[in-house]
């Protein structure tokens, strides 16, 4: 490790050009040690490029990057990258290595002994909520969400004080994405690291971020705490981005049916844990809505299935809403019960899933 803790990361006038195209345009940005800073902006706005200047996957044409006051160019590039965990959307687990080998790769290269590695891998699997038996599996036997968890475990292997995360949940279906966000929000405090996190999902930004930096066309438009952005947006673009509220201005007139997502892809009729697990594996899901003859039985998640002996034990009784419930009352009920999700049912038949977003919850 080049550093045991991060006091600050400073980007000064960082510029990156590809030919005539300016991907990152004179960005000045400071990341405070210990915070989770969100980089958000439309596709192509230069988030990934900017992020990659920190671990020198991209060398800026102009400007410098400092970690704890030292220019990153002074560091050996391999050592620098080992001191920085990196998680990406495409996951990038090595297909020829088991979960354990993937996670332990850097430990092995750093010369850890077998016992230490074993212990650390188990610790990390626990942290990312994967059963320890998964250690011996190959990545292609895992669902997308499970692979993403392994990717996070691998990034944390050497205990780096800094994590770079590039849309880590971007490729997942909406419900799984929410599940992983919830989990990540829970372990974030326990991680106690400095994290730079790229997303283009404003809800994710509000949910996970301490501060939010907004980019457009390679420029940093504004950076600040969520309330600063909402109360004092630098321009119309920022106002639009953070005030997703406006979209829901007529909250009272909106009904659950207007913003629920289709339940169809999550419906499954099955009688046993194995059958549901098989279905999840085939469809790459970690969440299912169980029905019997079309009537709602309950919801199950992959992790509850893996822990449960029988299907009954794994079933959760979800909050039920009707399609005509007003959004405002639906949301306050969810907020009161601490649920991030509710099922919309017509009689006994599930018709939709309502995901409470941070933006919506702040309104009620």
């Amino acid at each position: 490790m080049l550093f045991n803790r991060i006091d600050s990361i400073e980007l000064r006038g960082v510029t990156k050009r590809y030919g005539d195209f300016v991907a990152v345009d004179h960005v000045d940005l400071e990341v405070i040690g210990g915070e989770l800073l969100i980089l958000i902006g439309p596709s192509g706005s230069g988030k990934t490029t900017l992020l990659r200047t920190i671990n020198r996957l991209v060398e800026p044409d102009e400007g410098e990057v400092f970690i704890n006051g030292r220019n990153v160019r002074e560091f050996d590039v391999v050592k620098l990258r080992r001191s920085i965990g990196y998680v990406i959307q495409q996951i990038g687990l090595f297909p020829h290595m088991t979960v354990k080998e993937n996670i332990a790769l850097l430990m092995r290269l750093e010369g850890w002994d077998e016992e230490e590695m074993e212990k650390r891998v188990e610790e990390l699997l626990d942290l990312v909520a994967l059963p320890r038996e998964f250690a011996e599996r190959y990545p292609h036997h895992l669902s997308g969400g499970q692979q993403q968890r392994v990717g996070l475990a691998r990034a944390l292997a050497l205990n780096p004080p800094l994590l770079l995360m590039d849309e880590p949940f971007g490729a997942l279906d909406p419900i799984l994405r929410r599940q992983l966000q919830e989990e990540f929000a829970r372990i974030k405090a326990a991680l106690g690291r400095t994290i730079v996190f790229v997303t283009h999902d404003i809800e994710e930004a509000f949910k996970l971020g301490d501060r939010i930096a907004i980019m457009r066309d390679g420029k940093l438009i504004q950076v600040g705490y969520p309330d600063e952005l909402v109360l004092n947006p630098a321009d119309e673009f920022v106002a639009k981005l953070v005030n997703a509220d406006k979209k829901f201005k007529h909250l009272d007139t909106l009904k659950a049916r207007d913003i629920m997502i289709d339940v169809e892809p999550y419906l499954v009729e099955a009688e046993s844990v194995e059958a549901v697990l098989e279905w999840m594996r085939e469809n790459d899901r970690e969440f299912a809505v169980l029905t019997k003859n079309g009537a709602l039985v309950g919801t199950v998640t992959l992790s509850s299935l893996l822990k449960a002996g029988t299907l009954e034990e794994a079933i959760d009784e979800p909050l039920r809403l009707s399609p005509d419930d007003s959004l405002a009352s639906a949301l306050s009920e969810m907020k009161a019960k601490g649920e991030f999700m509710a099922l919309v049912v017509e009689g006994e038949r599930p018709v939709g899933v309502l995901l409470a977003s941070e933006v919506l919850l702040r309104l009620v």
């Binding site: 996957l57 391999v78 050592k79 080992r82 990038g92 790769l105 850097l106 290269l109």
Partner: protein, 209 residues
């Protein structure tokens, strides 16, 4: 046709051992040289087109001509036979090694760089294992080449199963030719089958999915 008579009189058990020994030595040398050459060319890609052109030209020399050309250098017997096998087998192994190493999906290399693997570590931990199925496919081609050349070695006193075929031709003895020929064919099939199994295992273990 008296299979047993041919087997005994031509000492086929002994000949088979000789044959497999030459085959083994030739193949082992081919694998070592081919893989090393493939690695070397991966490190010096500018040389690759030239090297592969030369190997391609060697590949087009008929086996008999190559054996004869090697006689003044290496004399009669095993040596020129093994040398000729190796010369033919280097190309498929080196080419597949080179292609395997260079065609590893870019995204895996990017991830490896991003999490802090050095150039060398990427070669050993990522490129090489992911290239193994393709290397094995090259070796499998070499198995077939080697079997053929080692059999022809009988013509230049290399021993092995080429020798009884040679005798059969001299004596105009159909039985010897057919029995030995079939036996060589069967051996070739078995060895190719083994190579195919190994290749399949490696594809399952290290292949891209």
């Amino acid at each position: 046709m008296d299979v047993l008579w041919v087997w005994e009189s031509q000492n086929l058990a002994q000949r088979t051992l000789e044959h497999l020994r030459m085959f083994g030595i030739a193949l082992a040398l081919s694998v070592v040289i081919g893989v090393l050459l493939g690695l070397y060319l991966y490190r010096r890609p500018k040389l690759a087109p030239i090297a592969f052109n030369v190997l391609n030209i060697l590949e087009t020399v008929p086996t008999l001509a190559l054996l004869v050309l090697l006689l003044p250098l290496l004399g009669l017997g095993e040596k020129p036979t093994i040398a000729a096998s190796v010369i033919y087998s280097i190309l498929p192994i080196a080419r597949n090694t080179y292609t395997g190493l260079t065609s590893v999906e870019r995204s895996y290399i990017e991830v490896a760089e991003a999490i802090g693997l050095s150039e060398r570590e990427i070669l050993i931990k990522v490129r090489f294992p992911l290239a193994l199925p393709l290397i094995a496919a090259g070796v499998r081609i070499a198995v077939v080449f080697t079997m053929g050349v080692v059999t022809l070695g009988g013509l230049i006193a290399a021993g092995g199963l080429g020798a009884p075929i040679q005798t059969g031709i001299h004596l105009y003895d159909r039985d010897i030719i057919v029995v030995t020929g079939l036996w060589v064919g069967l051996l070739a099939l078995i060895l190719d089958g083994v190579a195919a199994l190994i290749e399949r295992y490696l594809r399952g273990r290290y292949g891209r999915r």
